[in-house]
């Protein structure tokens, strides 16, 4: 099973690093992985997105026109990527900053109240971990253990003290995600 995932939001929301941690976790589990970011000035303040592909077979195109899973963190990204979710696929979005909720009824839609929770609970730095937790609850593509090992690999040694907080955030995120039915 190959998972083709798009993660999209504002630059600075941790979109690229969320994708990186996911890819690292796939690597640790011996899977084939590809991580392809949007790059350039749009990263700073504008929209940022990253394609992550995790599977068993050699990965062909890092450029995709449709996705199994879309993780959407702002309105422009919702408009851009909602139509690209495969029929029967999954869309997870954070309602914070979304004015027009997704409308498709041929895909599974989930909402995660990550931004408000991160702010309320004083863990704004772990916002993307909340979202990642939500994803893993719905689609256990990789194990939490692998995510934490991936995090350990991608974080410099001096930041390893934040690992327990991130683990908690992932678990918290799992409890936040809820299904929306159109």
């Amino acid at each position: 099973m190959q998972h083709e995932i798009i993660i999209a939001g504002f630059g600075g929301q941790g979109v690229l690093s969320m994708g990186k941690i996911l890819a690292y976790a796939g690597l640790i589990e011996g899977k084939e992985v590809a991580w392809f970011p949007s790059y350039g000035p749009e990263q700073r303040g504008g929209t940022a997105n990253v394609t992550v592909i995790i599977g068993e077979e050699r990965i062909s195109s890092p450029i995709l026109n449709e996705f199994d899973i879309a993780i959407i963190l702002n309105q422009p990204s919702l408009e851009k990527f909602e139509p690209t979710v495969k029929i029967g696929g999954t869309l997870i979005y954070d309602g914070y900053g979304i004015q027009q909720a997704p409308v498709r009824n041929d895909i599974h839609i989930y909402e995660i109240d990550a931004m408000n929770t991160a702010n309320d609970e004083g863990i704004s730095k772990a916002f993307n971990m909340l979202v990642l937790g939500g994803l893993l609850k719905i689609a256990p593509i990789v194990s939490i253990e692998s995510i934490l090992s991936g995090l350990k690999k991608s974080l410099p040694e001096r930041h390893h003290k934040f690992l327990p907080m991130n683990e908690q955030a992932i678990k918290r995120g799992m409890s936040l995600v809820k299904k929306i039915t159109n």
Binding site: A23, L27, G40, I59, P62, L64, N65, E66
Partner: protein
């Protein structure tokens, strides 16, 4: 998976088939070979330093950006120097090198030059000393380097130039493109010269091609280019880096490169590196020598990959990132019952002419997919001597075609008249 990498040498062919068999591949890794050593060991001048100073025999699988892989592979290869100037989307190459500080470990020199022009001339200077030196840039910067590349070709100096292409012309865009194909394989700078050109399609190949490009450039005393783009440069994939080798000592360089300008001992004439020859008779002889070398490169060094081609009636020809997209398109079209394969040139110069010509009489139509307005298609048509109808599809200015978009074009091959 039906993947075949072809080479001139049948023993290498077998090794390559084995490489794409996962188990054999990982077995090879455990035995401590780098992929490139495994693939090319019979074709490349033996390098005595390979067995020395191998840091670890079982190599870790890393997750790296293509640009990072190039930087780390250069350190592992025992490169002597990198000279560069920042430009998107390849700045991670110099950034990675500066972070790694190889001058404290292998002794590799890394220098941020004042311009792309200065950087390529630093490469020229280092190469004249027999050192393994490289530079990297992206399209506008590569245009600036053309004079230096021509001087390297004219002075028969080896060296590696990496072009992580972006869309042009002019300052253009920072998004991926393949619009420097002509510039790279048809000259670029002035004079009748050729640039050995490798087109990696994965992060693993970014690392492997550093080794291959350096080896080929020293084997033929000719500059070599890795021609890639923002897709492969910026994406992260699994990669196994080549084993760490020591940089060659001056004595080793004097032995392997007797032409190196390393100071003249009393017992040999001066080593002089110059592309200047005002006597046209002699200059013609120099050119004929270059041409003979190019024919040798064309006979011995073509590399490519064929994917699901055995029973194919249609063919996509694409390199680099366009080949990655095409691979998915082939799978999608095959799922719909279309007999189609992918032919991916790995060496753009020398272009795999014979291998492509072997499809004449077997293939109904070719789609040449490029991130440009139609450049490699000219070489494809020449290779098949226009005996297979060939059409081009490409997007321009940094737009990357989606697999679905290409699939639509591929399906039309069956119905549309040429």
């Amino acid at each position: 998976m039906n993947v075949c990498v072809f080479f001139q040498n049948s023993a290498i062919n077998n090794l390559c088939a084995a490489f794409f068999h996962k188990k054999a591949f990982f077995k090879a890794i455990l035995q401590g070979f780098s992929i490139s050593t495994l693939l090319f060991s019979e074709k490349v001048v033996p390098l005595p330093s390979v067995t020395r100073n191998v840091l670890s025999m079982t190599e870790e699988i890393k997750l790296l950006k293509g640009n990072e892989a190039i930087a780390l592979a250069a350190i592992r290869y025992g490169a002597d120097g990198y000279f560069g100037y920042p430009i998107t989307p390849q700045s991670e190459i110099m950034e990675t090198l500066m972070e790694e500080m190889p001058w404290t470990t292998t002794g590799m020199v890394v220098l941020q030059a004042e311009s792309e022009v200065a950087a390529i001339n630093m490469v020229y200077g280092g190469a004249a000393c027999g050192k393994r030196v490289m530079t990297s840039s992206s399209s506008p910067g590569i245009s600036l380097k053309q004079e230096g590349i021509s001087f390297m070709a004219g002075g028969e100096l080896p060296g590696l130039i990496v072009n992580v292409m972006r869309g042009g012309p002019g300052l253009g865009t920072i998004q991926p493109s393949q619009s420097d194909y002509f510039q790279t394989v048809k000259g670029g700078g002035h004079g009748d010269y050729k640039l050995i050109t490798l087109a990696p399609a994965s992060v693993q190949e970014m690392a492997d091609h550093v080794v291959l490009a350096f080896d080929l450039s020293f084997k033929y005393r000719n500059p070599a280019m890795i021609l890639t783009d923002g897709v492969i440069g910026q994406m992260m994939e699994k990669v196994i880096l080549p084993p760490q080798r020591a940089r060659r000592t001056d004595d080793e360089i004097r032995k392997e490169c007797p032409w190196a300008a390393l100071g003249k001992p009393a017992n040999r004439p001066p080593n002089i590196h110059s592309s200047l020859e005002l006597d046209s008779q002699r200059m013609e002889q120099n050119n004929l020598r270059f041409q003979a070398k190019y024919r040798q490169i064309e006979a011995n060094e073509t590399r490519g990959e064929e994917y699901r081609c055995e029973d194919a009636e249609y063919l996509i020809v694409a390199f680099g990132s366009a080949a990655r997209i095409s691979q998915k398109v082939v799978d999608m079209a095959r799922a719909k019952g279309m007999k189609i394969g992918l032919f991916r040139p790995i060496t753009l110069y020398p272009f795999p002419v014979r291998e492509l010509y072997s499809y004449v009489g077997k293939i109904k139509k070719i789609l040449c997919l490029e991130l440009n307005a139609g450049q490699m298609i000219e070489d494809v048509k020449l290779a098949v001597e226009c005996r297979i109808p060939t059409i081009h599809y490409g997007r321009l200015g940094g737009i990357i075609p989606t697999p679905q978009e290409v699939l639509d074009k591929v399906e039309k091959l069956q119905t549309e008249q040429q």
